[in-house]
Symmetry: C2
Subunit: 485 residues, 2 copies
Amino acid sequence: MMAAMLTTTTTMILPLLLCALSACALPAGTAALPLPGSSVQLQVRYFDQILDHFNFNSQGDKTYKQRYLVSDQYWEKGVGPIFFYTGNEGDIWAFANNTGFMIELAQEFKALIVFAEHRYYGESLPFGKDSFRLDTIGLLTIEQALADFAVLLDSIKQNFGAQKSKVVSFGGSYGGMLSAYFRMHYPHLVDAALAASAPIPFVSGQGDPLQFFRDVTADFEKYNPKCPDIVRAGFIELKKLADKQEWAQIAQRMRLCQAPSSAADVRHMYGWARNTFTYLAMLDYPYAASFMGSLPANPVNVACDLLLNSKDPLDGLMQAVALFYNTSGTAKCLDPAAEFIECADPTGCGLGPDSLAWDYQACTEINLLCSTNNVSDMFPALPYTAAARREYCAKRWGVVPRETWLATQYWGKDVNSSSNIIFSNGNLDPWGNGGFQHDVGGNVAVKVIGGAHHLDLRYSNPADPESVVTARKLESALLHTWLAV
Amino acid sequence: MMAAMLTTTTTMILPLLLCALSACALPAGTAALPLPGSSVQLQVRYFDQILDHFNFNSQGDKTYKQRYLVSDQYWEKGVGPIFFYTGNEGDIWAFANNTGFMIELAQEFKALIVFAEHRYYGESLPFGKDSFRLDTIGLLTIEQALADFAVLLDSIKQNFGAQKSKVVSFGGSYGGMLSAYFRMHYPHLVDAALAASAPIPFVSGQGDPLQFFRDVTADFEKYNPKCPDIVRAGFIELKKLADKQEWAQIAQRMRLCQAPSSAADVRHMYGWARNTFTYLAMLDYPYAASFMGSLPANPVNVACDLLLNSKDPLDGLMQAVALFYNTSGTAKCLDPAAEFIECADPTGCGLGPDSLAWDYQACTEINLLCSTNNVSDMFPALPYTAAARREYCAKRWGVVPRETWLATQYWGKDVNSSSNIIFSNGNLDPWGNGGFQHDVGGNVAVKVIGGAHHLDLRYSNPADPESVVTARKLESALLHTWLAV
């Protein structure tokens, strides 16, 4: 797990961080595999999925192997509902391992459990290792992913004799967006959805570009108003050294494996350092999060204490960064080049093949214009404009982002016509204010005070704040009501 | 108009029949053109439409010219609604010329009028005359067409300062399906829909393959129970001659330009003759339909009288067929080869480029398995199976039809989650029983007794049956209610 902390960084959703290195590396096959923290055995299966749902000629009737995990252990055959996790940007095991609440609920509802992997992630690669070329990546869209889920669900219903089963889609973050979209676009298949930490308006380009990092900053301020000041001071000190090109000094103070040597290196280092705080805020759970290895309970507080007790702001910055990239303390130096890749998503794309797919999505439909300005947030000014995105995406993937498309195709913030979707958000989650904070249409907003990124989806834990216990009870009650109709 | 009757035949929806030869051939440009039967002037405009909405790499940011017609003559600027016709399988002028009720309503509602052409039809050809090749036709799907409408509507709202305007989509037959789908999939853009004669369940593969021609037969039976008997007897006589290979005799009796000479010719002739009755039933309007040239009022009754007064059944069959293919009586002989092409749609694809596009759609998403069996209908047994469709479509277009896709993607008969859609159907329309005959979800079914194919969409006419007058009043009242919310 330590290695993972050093070699993978961020994505919009964290569970996939460790994907390639930990739980995700579970052996494939049709054998049932135990889900850690539960008595459920998940079967690994592969579905011959249509390659291109939206063009009958481009790929003919070619298919690819879409992976999904399934368990009928709790299912009341033919009667109980189907709980369908709409996999997001990573290996499906990462989500199965970190969506314990769905397992707990499945037991309560006697539900069939399905975790469906998103195309172009994990093992569900339409063109194998060649899936990320310009001539093969184009089939990676939200539309294709949702159509995959719909076709797979149809097939599962038939194969399990579950034609009469109601269906609830589940998902967190981008997966939460998908679970909501799945209900919105396929309501004849999906009766209700739990969309946890789903920043639908923001990702549709209908949010405030400064909101995300302002809220990251606010998380640190909540613990101690001095913390953001120290972070800000640390970055200023770093900038002074960079302005004077004191590269060796920077390397020494930040304990870098390799000194920066250009403005580009400095910018990269800023992004790498900022990323620490993004993730500490998103992962600010009240207990050591198992999928983040040894990341301690309440990591924002831990980082804040390091900042408050440091000998000077730059030292504090270094310690906070090391908490994230070298949690175990075993690495001798920090390596921004290996630990962070700048991409179309300013909150990070991670590393490895999954990061390529996410970078592509952030260059096409997923519209993540988050900037820092050093005024409303504690970070160096790193503006990220539509023009910068266009330039990067043209160069990297040969595509022109369609900035209003997501709002057109998936309704943006106007979801008044939909119903039976739970939009849950934690007040510690920097994505929260990019989502729905109030009831809208026939949907219910659930607030989790003291909750970070989709805390409610995780297994119940003795350290859970009361609010998430209540939120989960409410979510269960809403689903009972909606499924009873 | 006569020429048109001889050289074009059927499609699922008739207005496009005469498209290439009559109203559709109006000069293009941005000048306002008068709409016959109304004082409205429609401007012809072209929109730079995204070529591929569902793959960012296949066409890059290439666009094509999508044609649309617009009039703000009645519009209360910034306040009145937008009435948006979702163009179907033909030249958009054909629909503009035959959807007078929308014009009448626009005056009443002070609405902005838009008729949007469907890609691959009329002038909206993504690759010009090369649009029907195997490497270019693949971008013809319902999804792309709806996305076109959504993107165009967004643009119109912006350009006209109509951001606050409510939107009603209108359409008949396949266009009616699209108008309903537009509301279902883009409810943030479309507030209500009038889906006239939209056989959604049937076209989704959820109907009875024998229903269509049974209902064609029933139309003739309604006028006089002897009529179907004569038609049936005529076809039996024809079959006897064919079985004996009396080709010259067939040509003489049916007044064919060229005698058949094979079983395939006979089958083609059966389809051509059957097509007559399909269209007489669909077009069984109580007045001479202007867009069908000289087709008389109540053509089913006229044909029936010809049958009843004929010297023998085969003579009656010939006269009925001539009523459709040689309405004017000026052609010296009938020419099945020129007047009818067998295609993936057993109710006909018409002729010309539009027919190619429709044939492709009937080979991919549009699932039209109508058969005749000579038991529940008056026609020769012409079974059309899924296997036959697959074989034809593989050979013609290199595609494999996806038989359940439409029901998955567009909900099939389960539209319970949608609202504000009027599903109107006439009891004389053979498509009627393939549509929604009862209220479903938040939608209202409107029955038009004495109405053929989307009669309600046409201009008011003194010969209209009382039921369509009432139906239109109800449709207006429903839209007033829904738009007032």
